[in-house]
Symmetry: C2
Subunit: 195 residues, 2 copies
């Protein structure tokens, strides 16, 4: 959580610092991102940074919250009545939509997939909790086989969706094709002879 000194700043300066963070965290994963680079981008002195934030985690969390607020209008929220499949595809479409206007935002998300720091892992775990719920509900609704391991399922999708975005996200058509192919595979299976 940013310190009071940060909250008292002018909107312009807060925005400048936010933009600087977005720039850095979209170029390098959290673990590799540099505070020095952020202050350089923002044009603020080193000392000020530590007057505003405790550390890198602090500004990252602030940035994520701001981003969430920003894309609130673009991305559709979870639809709890829809199936897990629909929600995932919806989300993939959302990622593309975001990627069109804010490729930096989308890349920040995608970069989490190649970060194995404890901080990022915890963040992801929290973010996936909602999906786990939906999967469990779909099991009860008879849409998903009850013996399926929800954690494995969401993990497979999550890391694929973001990994793919990292490498082919710029080509939107191709990206959506790949994601849909992946989901179709998981949905219907790849074996030709159903037994």
């Amino acid at each position: 959580m940013p310190k009071d000194t940060f909250n008292n700043l002018s909107e312009e300066k807060k925005k400048r610092i936010f933009n600087a963070a977005v720039q850095e965290f979209s170029e390098r994963r959290f673990s590799d991102a540099s505070i020095n680079q952020i202050i350089k981008n923002a044009g603020i002195p080193k000392g000020s940074f530590y007057q505003y934030f405790n550390d890198k985690e602090d500004i990252y969390l602030y940035m994520v919250e701001e981003m969430a607020r920003d894309i609130h209008g673009i991305i559709e929220p979870f639809n709890l009545d829809d199936s897990f499949f629909k929600n995932v595809i919806q989300r993939a479409r959302g990622t593309i939509k975001v990627g069109k206007t804010r490729p930096d935002y989308a890349r920040i998300g995608a970069l989490t997939v190649v970060d194995n720091s404890e901080f990022i892992l915890q963040l992801l775990k929290a973010g996936n909790a909602k999906y786990i719920e939906i999967i469990e509900r779909d099991k009860q609704r008879g849409l998903i086989k009850p013996e399926i391991d929800s954690e494995v399922l969401i993990k497979m999708i999550y890391i694929f969706v973001f990994n793919e975005y990292l490498y082919s996200g710029l080509d939107e058509t191709r990206y959506l094709e790949k994601v849909e192919a992946a989901i179709q595979m998981l949905k219907q299976g790849i074996a030709a002879n159903q037994d």
Copy 2:
């Protein structure tokens, strides 16, 4: 490719350097690994390293080749008559077998999944080529649906298998369960009502 000066070294010294590389690359992914750390582990001066290798990529490739030679006896090679599924599970079992005697080797492989440097990406692409072949063959044999995107399939499995190893690889039973769950999902699908 190591320089001649390296090849002329005593087996003992070569082994010491190899071990030092294994230690470093099993603790940090390629991008984060430090040459300084390797020479420290090996007990050789900085200047010597550059007399033996061109750079970090050079020693990494050497290490990978040596490792491949080393686990040749442990891991079973591709069985071209077996299905893709069997080959993947075989490979996962192989990873576990290797992990038992050489957890460092297994971790070096697993760390590739969180490395998005061009160097590692190329290495992985080359390594997956054989699997692509097997998938294509299974399509012709009628074991895999012909419309399946081979690249998506192998990518999903690859990143899942290594990602999972990175986080639960130490618990072998759990790890194998997760991998088998993942493969089963892909094989038969997760949808309850087949249509």
